[in-house]
Structure formats: C-alpha cells, structure tokens
Amino acid sequence: AQRVTQPEKLLSVFKGAPVELKCNYSYSGSPELFWYVQYSRQRLQLLLRHISRESIKGFTADLNKGETSFHLKKPFAQEEDSAMYYCALSVESGYNKLIFGAGTRLAVHP
C-alpha cells in the first residue's frame, strides 16, 4: 500500500528550539519525497524535495530508505516558520501522482 504518515497533528516549540517534523512512508517502489508548506492565508507550496538535497529556509530533510522516513528538520525555529507542513510521496505512474500525509501544524512561540 502507498501511504504517508505524519504522526503529529501539532508540534509546538519556542523560538530558537530545534524542530523535527516526522514523516514515514510506505511504498514498494523507488520513492521520491517532498515537503509542502502552507502559511496562514497562503496557498500550498513546495518547500523542498529529497532529490535536490538542498536546505530551504534553514530546513533540511534526509530520505532514510531503511526506516522509510523523510523527517523535516531545522536547528533553530523562527516564528515565521509557523505553518502547516505536508509530507508527500511521488509514486511511479503515468502522471505526477502525489500522496499526501495529513499534515503537521508547527506553532513557534516567541
């Protein structure tokens, strides 16, 4: 079965604290993983993808095939990081099929 699990609905931290948003996937093929973010009153947008191996806004995510995980991390959270974060899995198909997790709301307090 193809599935993305984000176990935390809400993650609440203080400014400057480290952040880790968890994502686990289930997929028998070769996975491609993404993190999408939705800031308040804005549309859903791509944050980063694992194949790029890049850091965006201080966030990084490493694909761990052994643990089937793609956790999103940031060493020092900022208030502007407060948003909904969705992990997504792209599966092999004739189109760009994305399977989303339920999302984690990150709240960064001053």
Partner: protein, 113 residues
C-alpha cells in the same frame, strides 16, 4: 504573471443545486489535478488530466465530474450538491514527469446546507 486561479474562494449553497468550481492556470502546464481535503485530513486526489480532452478519476471516489476543453481550464462540477460534499477543493497543475513541482491554487471551501 504565471499563476493558477480558483474561484470562488468560498461557496455556501443549498442541497440539490448544481455548482461549478473554476480552475485556470497560465503556467503552460499540461497536467492538472483536483484534490479534496477535509479539515485535519490528507489531501485526496479526485480527478486528474493529462491534457486537453483527457480526464481520469483519482484515488478517492467522487460524485463530481471534470472537463478539459482548453489546456488552461479545468472546471469541476457537482450536478446536485449534498451536505456530504462539504469540503475544501484544491486545484493544482504541473509539468509532465514524476517528481515535478505541483503548483496549487488558493482552494475553494464549499459548504452545502
């Protein structure tokens, strides 16, 4: 400016009415998608399109229908709205190819009373 537009943003409508949710993109993308999302839940794909005159059902069964007569336009229609259709509907588009970035519209929040 290249973008993807959805109208209306919010819609409250009575049971039995026919509704059409509009989605247009000026990004030149061939692939377009409709997702449905209930509060606190995953986004579920309900329709997608490879291109003009090509539409397919997604993973989540939906009573809605879609059409793709023009590349940039991908409207979603409910012939007879019911309270169970109350949800948020997100339109997205992308280029061909696995793993390409999907661009989302602002969404339409539909409430059927």
């Amino acid at each position: 400016e290249a973008d993807i537009y959805q109208t209306p943003r919010y819609l409250v409508i009575g049971t039995g009415k026919k509704i059409t949710l509009e989605c247009s993109q000026t990004m030149g993308h061939d692939k377009m998608y409709w997702y449905q999302q209930d509060p606190g839940m995953e986004l579920h794909l309900i329709h997608y399109s490879y291109g003009v005159n090509s539409t397919e059902k997604g993973d989540l069964s939906s009573e809605s229908t879609v059409s793709r007569i023009r590349t940039e336009h991908f409207p979603l229609t409910l012939e007879s709205a019911r309270p169970s259709h109350t949800s948020q509907y997100l339109c997205a588009s992308s280029y061909t190819g696995r793993g390409t970035e999907a661009f989302f519209g602002q969404g339409t929040r539909l409430t059927v009373v």
